[in-house]
Amino acid sequence: MIEAAGLTKRYGKTLAVNNLTFSVEPGQVTGFLGPNGAGKSTTMRMILGLDNPTAGEVRIGGKRYHELKNPLRTVGALLDAKWVHPNRSARAHLKWLSVSNKIPLTRVDEVLDIVGLTSVAGKRAGGFSLGMSQRLGIAGALLGDPEVLLFDEPVNGLDPEGILWIRKFMHRLADEGRTVFVSSHLLSEMALTASNLVVIGKGQLISQSSTKDFVARAAENTVKVRSPQLGELRAALVAASATVTSADGGILVSGMDSDKIGELAAAHHIVLHELSPQTGSLEQAFMQITGDAVEYHTGLDAAFEPTR
């Protein structure tokens, strides 16, 4: 159980995380979704007590991170797979971690076996591929058999096999009753992994809901309509409580499907030149929702910005 209340982090003039309040429940995978630079990693670092919040606080099972005794036994985290000394062997890395939290050393070989690194346990971690480093990081997170697990973009740079492995793995951890909190900037990935979503953009909470609800909202279809009597049509649609936005040469209607719009137009004797349902990808829809909350816009972004 992770509870953040009013969590805020300011770096100089930039507000990286702004008054974030959310909670992560045990027994399910909770996705932490947001575009790059939204403040996901900063939030994760604050949960682990690595960064000090400017305001607000975050508690794990009611305690702050530094109040936990032998914290690796309560919270396991993989924030960056490269946080390993390149000349240290995988086993030595896990060994010092276990000693620090009084975890029996037999556990080191157990977790190496769980992530499938037994055969390279004595090799220096600097020679590991990204996938192997991720596995070593996960081994480190599992070391203390913790109730709470945090993973920051665990599938980044992995091949499909690795992605599938991690996805199944998280489900298993959640099924064991643990709290699993996974960040990602890909909604399509989170739709498959997480049952709950905390969505942020520009450091602010956009929504906390079940993945199903969020995807339904995100994938909500719009209908493009062109008509010589656009003004009348718009008034009629708004009166029927649909949402209308201008698009080039016509309007985009959401909250009403094309059948209803056609019937409505016929009832008002309005001529339609175009009535075309628009099905965007999940990613496009996600961009629409987090729209203004993307931190670093590029020229390309602007060109592909969904019309509203």
């Binding site: 936990l68 946080w83 390993v84 390149p86 480190g140």
Partner: protein, 255 residues
């Protein structure tokens, strides 16, 4: 104790401490061989102090070792893993300083006695016997100074977090800046009397008794303002103040 074990595992599961230890021994014993080997009984007699001629260079290598033990943790992000495992940052960093200092002490004693032993091999007839307190301090004191120098380097490593910056600062300061202070007109020599590494030299060589065979009246080898015991206390206090401030900074800072 747990934290000491953790830092010990971390230190010895990488290669740089082994290399630095070897280099320290090679440098100090090598210098001892050179200096003693080139001594002659008339002008430059071999003395206990002259067998320890290279200790300053060995100390430089020790400081590199100690600084790297911290800065590589920042470089590779393992400091975050450390603080994640041990959120009490002061305990974690203090344990690191203790372990590195202990290693420096051991390396220092081996290199000091090794240097002295090489000296006695090369000049069996010179008066190199350790037969006074001054002689003993001059040899055993090297390890103590290495331990304190290691604490200074750990502190600088914590403060600067970058290997190149920390090492450059430490080496330039210990090997050059401090003695160059003497060149400041007027106050230079007086300021130098209070500089920490000059104090360290004072502790090691005292009033020059361990350098006894040399031209009479050469006097103390260091100009530092305090007596031998107080000079050590001064150097130790300097190291501790640096460490305490570094830990205070690390506690407030984002890791």
């Amino acid at each position: 104790m747990t934290l000491l074990a953790v830092e010990r595992i971390k230190l010895f599961t990488t290669r740089s401490p082994w290399w630095c230890a070897l280099v320290t021994l090679a440098v100090t014993i090598g210098f001892a061989a050179l200096v003693v080997g080139n001594s002659n009984d008339a002008e430059f007699a071999a003395t206990v102090a002259s067998t320890q001629f290279g200790y300053g260079f060995g100390m430089a290598v020790i400081m590199v070792l100690a600084a790297l033990s911290v800065t590589t943790e920042y470089r590779f992000g393992t400091i975050r893993t450390t603080f994640q495992a041990v959120p009490q940052r002061s305990s974690a960093l203090l344990a690191k300083a203790v372990v590195v200092a202990a290693l420096a002490l051991v390396i220092g004693e081996i290199s000091a006695f090794g240097s002295w032993f090489v000296g006695t091999l090369l000049k069996p007839n010179a008066d190199l016997a350790l037969n006074s307190a001054a002689d003993w301090i001059n040899v055993t004191g090297v390890g103590v100074l290495y331990a304190l120098a290691a604490v200074i380097a750990v502190a600088v490593g914590i403060l600067l977090r970058h290997s190149a910056g920390a090492i450059a600062l430490l080496l330039i300061y210990a090997l050059a800046v401090e003695s160059l202070v003497q060149l400041i007109p007027g106050v230079g020599k007086d300021v130098y009397k209070w500089m920490p590494f000059n104090m360290a030299e004072r502790f090691l060589t005292g009033d020059g008794a361990s350098n006894g065979g040399r031209a009479a009246g050469a006097g103390p080898m260091s100009t530092a303002a305090l007596s031998q015991g107080w000079a050590l206390a001064y150097f130790a206090a300097f190291a501790l103040v640096l460490l305490v401030s570094a830990i205070a900074v690390a506690k407030k800072r984002d890791a």
